[in-house]
Amino acid sequence: MNAALALGDDALVLSHRLGEWAGHAPVLEEEVALANIALDLLGQARVLLSLAGDEDELAYLREERAFRNLQLVEQPNGDFAHTIVRQLYFSVYQHLLYERLAAGDGAFAPLAAKAVKEVAYHRDHAEQWVLRLGDGTEESHRRTQAGLDALWRFTGEMFQPVEGLDGPDSGVDREELRTTWLTAVTETVERATLNLPTGPQSGGWAAGAGRQGLHTEPFGRMIAEMQHLHRSHPGASW
C-alpha cells in the first residue's frame, strides 16, 4: 500500500469533515478555528496525494474502496464535543507520528518537519477544548464522555503499521507510539474529569480496516458530496 495515500487520505477526509462545520459552528470564532485546521490538513493532503499521483484524480475520482484513510477520521461530526474528541484522538496521534517522521530519515521527513508545527496547534486546540468541555457544565461533560466512548473503538487502527512508512529509518515504532499516545490522551482526559474508555480499541466486523479500503457507512455519503461537483463538471476550472 502507498504510504503517501494513507497519510494523504487521513488529511483529506478529516479536512472535509471539519469543513462541514462551516456555517454550523456554535460560535463564529470557533468556526474560523475549525476552518483553519481544515485548511492546514487540506494543504498536507495536496502534497501527500501529489506524491502518490494526480491529486485531483485521487481526491475526486476514486471509489470508496480505494480510499486508505483511518475509519476514525471519516466518522460524522456529531455534536461539537464529538468533533473535538475526534480531533483529540487524531491530532495527538498525528502530532506524535509527524514528530517521529520529522526526526527520522524516511521519505516523509521533510514534509513532516513542515507540518508538525501546524499539527501541534491542532492538538493544542483539541486539548484546550476537552479540558473546558469535560470540566464545564454537566451537559458538556456528558456529551464529551459520550464522544470518548463512541469513538474509542476506532483508535486502535492508528497503531497498525503502514507499509512503506514504518521502515527501519522512519523513526516510527508503533508500540512506542501507542504507549506515548495513551499517556498523553489519558492525562488530558483525566484533567478534564472524564474517563478514557478501557474496552478494545478496535472490533466489530471491520472497525479498524480503513487502511484496507473498508469504510463505515457514512463515508460513502461523505465522498459522494465531496466528489459531486468534480464528477458533474469534469475538468472544470475557475
Binding site: 460560535v27 463564529l28 470564532e29 474560523v32
Partner: protein, 96 residues
C-alpha cells in the same frame, strides 16, 4: 450563535514585527483568556501578520468620552510648535 453573547469580549493587540508596538487589531468573544489568545491567532495572524499577541478584557479598557472631545483634544490643534513638522524625515527611518 446565541452562546457567543454569553462569552466576554476581548480586545486584541498584535505586534506585526519586532521593534514595532502592539496595535489594536479588533475584538472577539472567548470564554477565557487562553481561548481568546487562540481565537486571536486564528482571526488576526493567520497570514503571518504578527509575532506577538495581547488580549485584554474589553471591560478593562477605559475610553475617553466623545463629550470630552473638545477639552481633551482641541487645545493641541493650534500649537504647531508641538508638532515635528519642520524636520525632513531621513530615508532610512521607516516607522516614525
Amino acid at each position: 450563535m446565541s452562546s457567543s453573547t454569553d462569552w466576554p469580549l476581548w480586545e486584541v493587540f498584535v505586534r506585526s514585527r519586532r521593534g514595532l508596538s502592539h496595535t489594536h487589531a479588533g475584538s472577539l468573544h472567548a470564554p477565557d483568556a487562553e481561548m481568546a489568545l487562540r481565537n486571536a491567532r486564528d482571526l488576526y495572524t493567520r497570514r503571518s501578520e504578527g509575532v506577538s499577541i495581547w488580549v485584554v478584557p474589553s471591560t478593562a479598557v477605559t475610553a475617553s468620552s466623545p463629550d470630552e472631545k473638545d477639552s481633551f483634544f482641541e487645545p493641541a490643534a493650534d500649537k504647531p510648535y508641538r508638532h515635528p513638522t519642520f524636520y525632513e524625515i531621513p530615508d532610512g527611518v521607516k516607522h516614525l
